[in-house]
Point group: D2
Chain length 98, copies 4
């Protein structure tokens, strides 16, 4: 099991706000069978690495369909094989020890 943080940055948009794209990404994720959460700095999704990268590719392509000419996408994957770690587990583990 892995956890991925995904950030999609469309460049050359008219305004500094890119919330409309983030809304589209969230809608697309809601249609998938995945556990995810939106933070102030990206979307965090739980799954197998291959599934997560396929999702990243799908969402990365979305702004182009709306006329954006350049997209910078950042993906961070944290995969453990010594134990299963799902969404929220790392937070709980830290908070218990505070």
């Amino acid at each position: 099991m892995a956890i991925m943080q995904l950030n999609i940055i469309p460049l050359g948009t008219k305004t500094a706000s890119v919330g409309e794209y983030v809304v589209d990404f969230q809608r697309a994720l809601l249609e998938e069978d995945v556990n995810f959460t939106l933070t102030d700095m990206g979307t965090i999704i739980e799954g197998e690495t291959s599934q997560l990268l396929a999702l990243a590719a799908k969402i990365h392509a979305m702004p182009f369909a709306q006329g954006v000419q350049r997209v910078v996408t950042q993906i961070s994957i944290d995969e453990r094989r010594d134990k299963s770690v799902g969404l929220g587990d790392k937070i709980h583990s830290v908070q218990e020890r505070l």
Copy 2:
């Protein structure tokens, strides 16, 4: 106002778990006068850019004090000057439009 995501990765630790360091970082942040939240992929902190970078430097130095020989620190800063955006604002803005 800016929002920073901070990730501190100590290398060469004996085990794959680095939660003990994250606990220390959270304790250090609790002693600061800042608004922050822990996610599965990092800590997100709200503040002025100069204040945020000073915090990042402070936390980046912590694992060395515990004997770690190499630390990879990742900082992402999102600063807007057209409007004030604090912790949670981007999430609420997107959720309202879903």
Copy 3:
């Protein structure tokens, strides 16, 4: 055409040096039909986004085969559709204007 920066960070290795893993990644890339370059902070590869993500998945899996229990992989993809940008193009464009 897109450009990807790939960083693979194995956690819980005995030492702070992870060069042996980077050597393996470079060898794997040399066997692929791709244009890539090694920098001090990662490997930069040119290709189509789907091809780049497939490569990232392949290289991300390599440390696990050597007994590493946790891998943090960071991928940054910069894709333009208004013009074709290959490896070195952005550097040359900036240097011409200095």
Copy 4:
């Protein structure tokens, strides 16, 4: 000694090209007493962590002075205390072993 990769992404620019900002960053760095190199995915600079973060803050502020309303800045710092690693050292170490 540490190595920093710095990426400055101005949002809401009229076009998808942000090369003009990168040219300005390079000019600013040329006036500093630092060892740096431009790659296709960012600028890599060698120095002490405090010096590197001060430089990052300075360059992050530059697009605002030109009317940009939002800047996303990404900083990755790799600091070792078990040995001194400068610009190019990691590349040479890997290439020797290929």
